[in-house]
Symmetry: C2
Subunit: 430 residues, 2 copies
C-alpha cells in the first residue's frame, strides 16, 4: 500500500534538506560552544570555507541557488524539545548535566546567523561573521551541505540501478573495512566523519554497519543526531578553533605564547576525565609539549591530528614518562585522515604502550574513490575555519605546513613565538 | 510515517509466500500447456523433482513443514482477472489472441493438483500425478519454491547489514556482467532464470537492472509475471517435456522414432514465426537433424540446450545450408548454462553467420557463488521432469550423458531407435 499522506507531505518540500537538525553536528562543537558562551561570548569572529583541493571547482559543480536554499534551511532550524531533552538528560562521558541550564536556554533560542556567499575563480567564498558562540556552529553544517551538494551534483544524471550499484559497491567497501578492523584485538574506534560525509543518510548507514560489524569495538560517533538516533555515545572534546581564536586575541607575544595553555586551563575548570584531551599541534606539537606546564601531563590524553602520528605519539610517550606519568594509562586519540591500513599499523605499534583510540572520519563516511567516472567523488579536503577574531587574523601552523593557515607575516611571527622550525610536508588527502 | 494498515495487514500472513501468482512461471509452460490441453488433455503424467547435485542435501537444509506450507500456498492460487486480461489481450511475438478462449476459460478455473512429498536419504522425493495439462504447471513453481527456501535457509542467521552487503556484492556482480554484455554489438538476450532463481524479488531486480544496463539488447523475460509487471516481451517456445511424453506414449519403435517430429508437426499447426523454434537435443541433435523431414528446415530457428554449443550450431548451419536455407536468416537460441564469457565467445564466433539470441538463466538470477561462508549459495542443478506418461517411463538422452534420464533398458532402446552413439560428457554446473 502506498502511504498517500507521506507522499503528499513530501510534495510540499521545495528542497530535500541536507541538514535537518541543529544537533546534526559534532559533539565537540557543542562542548566548545558552551565554553565560548561562558568565557568569550562577545568575541566577534569570521569563519570561512577553505577548499584545500583547488582542482575540485565547487562553484562550477554546485548550483549557487541550491546552495543558498540549503543554507537558508539551516538558518530556519532551531533545537527541538526532544533534542534539548537529549542534551539535558543524557550522560556524556559518564557525567550528567554536561550542559548548563544557562547554556541550554540560550541554545534553545538560537537560530544560526546570516552567511555571506560569493563566487570567485570557480570556488565559493562563503563566510560567517558575528558573535563567536553563534558563528562557530556554522562550521559543520556548512561543510556537510557543501559535501552533500557535491555528491548530488555528481550523481544527478545516473540511472536508478547504476546508482544502486554505486551504493552497493560503496557498502561493500565499508563492510570490508569493518571486517578487517574487527580482527584488531582491543580496538576502540569512533565515527568522526560528519563534516566530510558523502551525505547524512550514508553516514548513518556507515555508523549502523560499524555497530553490527565491530560490536563493542565501535565506541560511538561524533555526530550528536546520529548518537541520539542510534543510542550511541557522543564522542569529542575540543579543536584548533579554541587556541586559534585565543591566540589571535593575544595583545603581546608573551600572551600569544601562553594562549594555548590558557585555553586548556579554562577547559579544565569545566571538565574532567575523558574530556581532558590535549590537542597539541595547533602551533607545533614538539614546542607545545616542551613548554607545557606540569599540570597538563596529568590530563587523560592527547589527540594526534597532523604530522607523523608515530613520531608524535612517541614524543607524547616520552613527555608523559619525563613527567612521571605512566603512558599505558594515557589516551591517544588518532584523528588525522585515518584509514584501515594506518589504523592497523598504529595499533600494532602502540597497543599496550598507550590506550589508543581512533577517530575515523572521511575515509569511513566518504570513501567513493574510483567508484564513478573520472573519479568525480574522490575525497577532497574542505575545511571551515575561524580566520579572524575581533578584527585580527588567526593563524594555524599544525605539524604539517600543508595544513597551515594565516597571513604570511603572522605565520612567521607565530613560528618565532612558538619556536617552530622546519616541518616535514605531508600530502593532505582529506 | 509508518503505514499502519500495511504493517497490520502483513501481521496476518502466516508465511511469506514465494510464488504468489499462477503466471509466475515460464511463458513456454503456458504455450505448451495450451498445446497439451488441445492435443493430449487426458494423458496421465508424473512429474518429479530431481536434484542432480547430490552434495546439496535439500531435506537437511529445508524444513519440511515450510516446504509444505509453500506448496499448499501455490495450490491456493488461481488466475486473477488482471492476469487473465494480460494473457487474453496481449500481443505475444506480434500475435494477438495467442491463447484461445477455450484454453483461457479452463485456465481461469484451474487450481494446481495435489503433490506428494517424502524424504529419502537427505533429499525430498516430490512428485505430482494427474492430467498432463494440470501437472505440468507444477514444474516451475515447485523449482522456484525449493530454490528460494534453500536461499532463505542459508541466509536466516545473517545480520541485517551483513545481508545488505551480501546483496550489495551480488548486485555489483550482476551489474558488472551487464557492463560486459552491453559492449557486445547486436546482442539480443533474455532472462530465462525463473526456475533456479535465488528468489522472486531478486529475479525481478536482475531483470530491471538488465533493462537499464542493456537497453534494447535485453529483449525480454521468460517469466510471465515479471513480463507483465515490467512491460516486457514474454519469451519462450517449447521444451523437452513434449517429445519426452510423446515418445513415452509411442506404441512401437517406429512410432517412437517419429515422436519428436510429430510434436513439431502439431506445434506448427498452432504457431508460426518466432515460435517455430526446434529443440533438437532430446534424443541427440545430430540424429535428429539427419532424420528430420524437409519442412522442418523452414522453421525459424533452433535452440541449443545441451552438448557443445559450437559443434551443435555448426551442425545446424550445415543442416540449413544442405536444405537450401540461408543460416544468416535463422535463429539460434543458446540456453544451456550460459554466463558472460560463453556469451561473448559464442557471439564472436556466430554473429553474422546466424541470428544468435541468448536465454540467460541461473547465472543471471542465482549467481551467489563464493558470497557466503562454505559457498552455501553456490549454484546447483535442480530439475522437475515428466518421469512417466500413461504408466510408461519417459527418457531423455540430450547431447550430454550427464543430463540423460530414464530406466537403463529404455535409455538403451532409445539410443538404438534414435541412432545415438558415443556422447561427450560435459560437467553440469547448473
Amino acid at each position: 500500500m502506498i502511504d498517500i499522506a507521506t507522499r503528499v507531505y513530501n510534495h510540499t518540500w521545495k528542497i530535500d534538506p541536507i541538514v535537518r537538525s541543529l544537533i546534526d553536528t559534532d559533539f565537540y562543537k557543542l562542548l566548545m560552544c558552551q565554553s565560548v558562551f561562558r568565557n568569550k561570548p562577545d568575541t566577534q569572529v569570521t569563519f570561512q570555507l577553505i577548499n584545500r583541493s583547488h582542482n575540485v571547482r565547487l562553484a562550477e559543480l554546485i548550483d549557487e541557488g541550491e546552495l543558498r536554499e540549503q543554507l537558508d534551511h539551516v538558518r530556519s532550524l532551531s533545537l527541538t524539545r526532544g533534542e534539548s531533552t537529549w542534551m539535558r538528560g543524557n550522560t556524556f562521558y559518564g557525567k550528567r548535566q554536561m550542559f548548563s541550564p544557562e547554556f541550554m536556554e540560550w541554545f534553545e533560542n538560537l537560530r544560526l546567523p546570516p552567511y555571506h556567499l560569493e563566487r570567485q575563480d570557480g570556488q565559493f567564498v562563503l563566510t560567517f561573521e558575528g558573535a563567536w558562540p553563534e558563528v562557530m556552529l556554522w562550521e559543520i553544517p556548512a561543510l556537510a551541505v557543501i559535501m552533500e551538494l557535491r555528491s548530488r551534483a555528481v550523481l544527478k544524471d545516473m540511472g536508478r540501478f547504476e546508482l544502486q550499484v554505486l551504493y552497493a559497491r560503496a557498502m561493500t567497501r565499508v563492510w570490508e573495512k569493518g571486517e578487517r578492523l574487527k580482527r584488531i584485538p582491543g580496538l576502540r574506534l569512533a565515527d568522526f566523519g560528519t563534516r566530510r560525509r558523502h551525505g547524512y543518510l550514508w553516514q548513518d548507514w556507515c555508523v549502523q554497519a560499524m555497530i553490527e560489524a565491530l560490536g563493542d569495538k565501535f565506541v560511538g560517533t561524533s555526530n550528536c543526531l546520529i548518537a541520539k538516533k542510534r543510542d550511541l555515545e557522543a564522542i569529542g572534546t575540543n579543536a584548533h578553533e579554541l587556541p586559534m581564536v585565543y591566540a589571535a586575541l593575544a595583545d603581546s607575544d608573551e600572551e600569544l605564547a601562553r594562549a594555548p595553555y590558557k585555553v586548556l586551563e579554562e577547559w579544565q575548570e569545566e571538565h574532567d576525565g575523558n574530556l581532558l584531551v590535549i590537542l597539541p599541534d595547533t602551533y607545533g606539537t614538539k614546542a607545545f609539549l616542551d613548554r607545557a606546564p606540569d599540570w597538563l601531563a596529568e590530563w587523560t590524553g592527547i589527540r594526534i591530528d597532523s604530522g607523523d602520528p608515530v613520531e608524535n605519539t612517541e614524543a607524547a610517550i616520552r613527555w608523559w614518562t619525563a613527567h612521571g606519568q605512566d603512558p599505558r594509562e594515557k589516551l591517544i586519540v588518532f584523528s588525522d585522515g585515518l584509514d584501515v591500513a594506518e589504523i592497523e599499523s598504529l595499533h600494532a605499534r602502540f597497543a599496550g604502550r598507550v590506550k589508543a583510540t581512533y577517530g575515523w572520519g572521511t575515509l569511513l563516511t566518504n570513501d567513493f574513490a574510483g567508484l564513478v567516472d573520472g573519479d568525480a567523488l574522490a575525497p577532497f579536503s574542505l575545511v571551515c575555519k575561524a580566520v579572524e577574531a575581533d578584527g585580527r587574523p588567526t593563524v594555524k601552523l599544525s605539524d604539517n605546513p600543508e595544513k597551515a593557515m594565516g597571513p604570511k607575516d603572522q605565520v612567521e611571527r607565530y613560528k618565532r613565538v612558538f619556536g617552530v622550525g622546519e616541518q616535514a610536508r605531508r600530502a593532505v588527502r582529506v
